[in-house]
Symmetry: C2
Subunit: 319 residues, 2 copies
């Protein structure tokens, strides 16, 4: 299914200076012929973890920027768009208030920060494979790493697929997969075996939300992902939403959401916001800057070419 | 108001090769620290008109690309998003069916193509300052230049501001301003004098829709533009909508829309699609690929940070 699975991940070396000296130019086999370029005002870290190439630099417009295998993962200026949307689209759509949530990937802590905005949640687990990402985020992306400070968060530096597979059946209200692209360590997070494990680990009525690329670049990959999910989330609902975000390829990124039917057979209508994120302590976090209930509904309205391609594979919710 | 008005426009020379050999890297004072890069697979034209630097090249992913003063204006692959949205958001929102429309700028013909989809329209004028843009588009962007072929279209190679100023009061149902950025020849298209002339040239109940940059990059400029428009379109309505488009800076671009009150005092609710574009001859054009009635409504839903900044300056319609 994943045509990039066998491609070799690249290092930042290929991207630094590719756009003239002092620029990071995000060239990749995944978006041939185009590249987002960001000026490197100061190099903050350059290294290699057990899993991937890790690079952090400062840009005058976007603040600190985290780059894994030569691909921009997060910038201080626009990360909120991604973190708020991948988190609140599923958590605000659940029919029941969420109590237990798992984040796979997301080692920068940004998704955790958003999950903690839900006062109903009692336990938040994260399974991130690469400890260096957590370490770098705590050092250079403190506004995201703040997510690790919440007392409900349990950090597991481990293989997320194994973690999900080891969970008891029916454990989670929501699983959020904050993965990098399907080249390198994250390629397995786009495979059927992983989605089957997530389906098993969800409570009835629970939902999965996974990073699912961009309709302008990867409509075929998204279509294939939707077909695969449909075969697993039988009797459930499925939706595709997106957010704009300047530093992701083509300026936006989408999310595939699937729900497992509840005991009474009802499923989640992802397009409807049923609650607003209310932290137990309202003063703990800065207000959200992207998400609101109107943005929630609009996120599922796709350009005509993408609607025509994806709608046949999606399944509306039934409450 | 326009902080870029005094900046010198740049040529493609500054951008070609700035990202390593064989790439166009869209560096600009208007989006410091970031740049969209497109690989140049073949140079098709490089020249200078009386008004600006004109460059056309071929990219394997985006097809032929038109660049003015070093800034990407249109690519064959994603232009439809911009052309459909800048055209149908205003034309489908009008309370009365449009009959007479003026396009200012838009020399590539893409907006004309979309305007011709409205069978009710009897007369379409275009005022484009630069004949070389029209010429290059007919040569290298035929799927856009097809807009010039419609018998209702009258082409005027002239100063759009003068053209609007010379029009009789109350002439147009809609004026669409398809301008480049507010550096160089288009900077005057963001000024008060031009908006006052457009207001005068509109019929009661008529609307203006102008290219109005990106909320991620230029929220201050958009706020200033909104304040200015509010002082001119007294008693009318005002809205800001946007489209995603990979090859514009930060992956999206917005439109400022203003309406003049009708004789009975009613104004246009831009957020509601009141008709679907129906060409007199359905076979003349390929189907639309971005616009549909749901996309119309969703285009006005802004990320929370942009809503908070702009909503106080906008005016809902009253029918």
């Amino acid at each position: 299914m994943n045509k990039y699975a066998d491609d070799a991940p690249q290092s930042a070396d290929k991207c630094i200076g590719a756009c003239g000296e002092g620029w990071l130019c995000e060239v990749s086999e995944m978006w041939k012929g185009q590249a987002m370029s960001l000026k490197i005002d100061e190099e903050l870290f350059r290294g290699r973890s057990e899993f991937q190439d890790v690079y952090v630099f400062k840009n005058s417009a976007y603040g600190n920027v985290l780059v894994l295998d030569g691909v921009i993962q997060a910038t201080e200026r626009d990360e909120f768009a991604y973190q708020e949307m991948i988190t609140h689209l599923p958590l605000c759509a659940l029919n029941e208030e969420p109590k237990r949530v798992l984040v796979v990937g997301g080692g920068d802590g940004g998704v955790l920060r958003e999950v903690t905005r839900h006062g109903s949640i009692e336990r938040i687990e994260i399974a991130e494979i690469d400890g260096m990402v957590v370490e770098m985020s705590k050092k250079f992306l403190p506004s995201m790493a703040v997510g690790f400070d919440d007392a409900r968060v349990e950090v597991n530096i481990c293989d997320g697929i194994k973690y999900v597979g080891d969970a008891e059946e029916g454990t989670y209200d929501a699983i959020i997969v904050d993965s990098s692209d399907p080249i390198g360590p994250a390629s397995v997070l786009f495979e059927e075996a992983f989605f089957k494990k997530m389906h098993r680990a969800l409570k009835p009525g629970g939902v999965v939300c996974t990073q699912a690329e961009c309709v302008w670049l990867h409509i075929d990959l998204i279509e294939d992902l939707a077909k695969m999910c449909k075969g697993i989330f039988v009797g459930g609902s499925m939706a595709y939403g997106y957010t704009t975000i300047p530093t992701y390829p083509s300026g936006q990124i989408g999310f595939m959401m699937c729900s497992k039917p509840a005991a009474d057979g009802s499923t989640v209508d992802f397009t409807k916001a049923k609650r607003f994120p209310r932290p137990a302590d309202e003063s703990a976090l800065k207000p959200m800057r992207y998400y609101n209930p109107q943005v929630h509904a609009a996120a599922f309205v796709l350009p005509e070419f993408a609607r025509a391609a994806l709608e046949p594979h999606l399944v509306p919710g039934s409450e």
